[in-house]
Each structure stands twice: as structure tokens, then as C-alpha cells.
Amino acid sequence: MFSRYAKLILILSLHLILLSLLAPPPAYAMHIMEGFLPLGWAALWFILVLPFWGWGVKSLKAKVSGQPGLKLLLGFAGAFTFVLSALKLPSVTGSCSHPTGVGLGAILFGPAAMSVLGAIVLLFQALLLAHGGLTTLGANTFSMAVVGPLTSYGIYKFLKKTKVPLSFNVFLASALGDLATYVVTSLQLALAFPAPDTGIWGSFAKFISIFAVTQVPLAISEGLLTVVVFNYLFAYNKEELKELAVLQEKGGA
């Protein structure tokens, strides 16, 4: 006969098993989760992001009002980010993360424009998917829609002046922009949660091993996918790429 305690334990563990089967899987957001930045830090990142939003709206207006035809291309760049940030891919570390897709838009429209487009995608995911969060929107925008695009744009502009082939340039710019996003995410978490013994850098090492290492193969995938769509743009839409100064006026890439 079961003792009372054994029965209790049995019932409890059955409950736990059932619960674990019924409970939805944890939300797999790769951005900083809702409520996971202390108020001060959350506010600071919002303040830092504000000027980029202002700059972004201005730059979008200027680009699109000059050439209304570019609206479609802008929608395309936004949609590309939308798709890529919905693709949660497995990584060699045995966990999942998703690419950001902001590199393409940064190469086409510059980093300012992406601070707005990226924020829209993040807002959608925060509201509808419980992914990332409203309180962490500033921090997540800063990493994915400010630093990521700035990195991609900087690399693209720099390598364009060299003899690096165009496809390889697009690949590097988008892959490293993707990676930069998660380096910043790790840094943001480390600043807010320094380890008691090893400090900010100890924590940074911990978070970067979670985010950035997982992200390496995904960044490569993002780079390749960006080259795929860029190849199409290059083949079918050279004119607009020249108008946007993505390509040189003469002689193409």
C-alpha cells in the first residue's frame, strides 16, 4: 500500500508532467524579453533611439518624395525584414534564433530609414507575438534597427570603394550587421546585469555565448539570402539602385 507521502508525490509529479505537456513552449524571442530590462535602462535606450527615429522619418520622406516609384522598393525592404525575423532557425549551439533582415534595407535606403522599418517589425512582434517587448522596444530597436543597419551600411560603403566583388560585399555587410545586432543585445543585457564577481565583462561573455555564437550560422544564412534578393534587384532594377546611389552611376558595380 502506498504511504500518504508516496501518493502525494505521485499525484504531484503526474500534475507536473501534464502541465509540462499542456503549457505552451517558452516564447522564443531573440530580442530582449518584455520586462527584462530595469526601468532606468529601458528608458535610456528609448532616449538614445529617439533621434534615430526622427532622422529616419526625415530621410524616408526625402527619399520617397523625390521618387514615388521607390515606395514599392521600400515596401520590399520592409517585407524582407518581416520575413527574415519570422524565421526562427536552428543553430549549431542547439538553440534557435532568427535573422534580422535589416542589412538589405540599410544598403538600399541607408541606416536612418531602417531605424523606422525595423522598429515597426519589432512593434508588431511585441504586440502580437509576445516577442521582445514594449518596455524593451527602445533597446531592441537600438540593437536591431540602429546598430545593425549602421554596421551593414558602413561596411557596404567602405567595401564599395575597394575591389571586393559586389555580391561578397552585400554578403559581408548583411551578415556582419546581423551579428552586430546580437553583440549589442549581449552588451545591453550585460550592462543591466553585471555579474557580482566578474562584472559587466563577465556577464557580457555569458550573454554573448548565448546570443552571438548561436547567431553566427544564421548571420551566414542572412548574408546568403540577402545576396539572393540583391541579385534579382541587380538584374531587374539597376536603374533604381543607381538612383539610390547603391551602385555607381557609370559602369555598374
Binding site: 526562427k88 507575438l129 548561436t214
Partner: protein, 99 residues
């Protein structure tokens, strides 16, 4: 190498990159990097409690995956519409040049 072949090759590499983790990490759970970060936060600072929670959460894994699929579908719809539009425009221009 023409455009279609080049892009097919690139997409194949992406598919291989997606498959490799399953081969070399047979035992892994493939949880989200964010839930691992949550664990890391509670290790570093066990007292920290999230001070705000999502206004709305998808009620189940099914609803969540539906929303993600919808996000990807809408996005790729727009992407492919635009690429088709460009190709059609280019083809038309080509026909006009040599009647």
C-alpha cells in the same frame, strides 16, 4: 553562371546550414536563445523580477506558430510580388527594344 543557378546554389547552402545543427546536435532542445538568456539573468541576479509582462500573449503554441507563419507569408508575398513586378517590367522593356 546565370541568375537562376547562382541563386539556387545560394539557397541550397542556406538549406544545408539549417540542416547541419540537427545532425551535429542530436540531443539538443533547440530552445530560443532568449529563454537561455532568461536563465542566465536569473543566475547573475537571482532577485531580478521582470517588472512588466506582455499585454497579450498568444494563448497556445499553435496560435503563436500561426502568427509567425502569417508574418512570414505576408512578408514573402510582398517580396515575391515585387520581384515578379520587376521581372515583368524588365521583360516588357526588352520586347519594346526589339519589336
Amino acid at each position: 553562371m546565370n541568375l537562376a543557378w547562382k541563386n539556387t546554389l545560394l539557397l541550397l547552402i542556406v538549406i544545408v546550414l539549417v540542416i547541419i545543427p540537427f545532425v551535429i546536435q542530436k540531443e539538443a532542445e533547440f530552445a530560443g536563445a532568449d529563454s537561455l538568456a532568461e536563465e542566465a539573468i536569473s543566475e547573475v541576479n537571482p532577485e531580478y523580477k521582470p517588472w512588466f509582462s506582455a499585454l497579450w500573449e498568444p494563448p497556445s503554441g499553435e496560435v503563436e506558430s500561426f502568427l509567425f507563419a502569417a508574418q512570414a507569408a505576408i512578408g514573402s508575398g510582398v517580396v515575391c510580388y515585387y520581384l515578379g513586378y520587376l521581372k515583368g517590367r524588365k521583360d516588357r522593356e526588352g520586347n519594346r527594344e526589339r519589336p
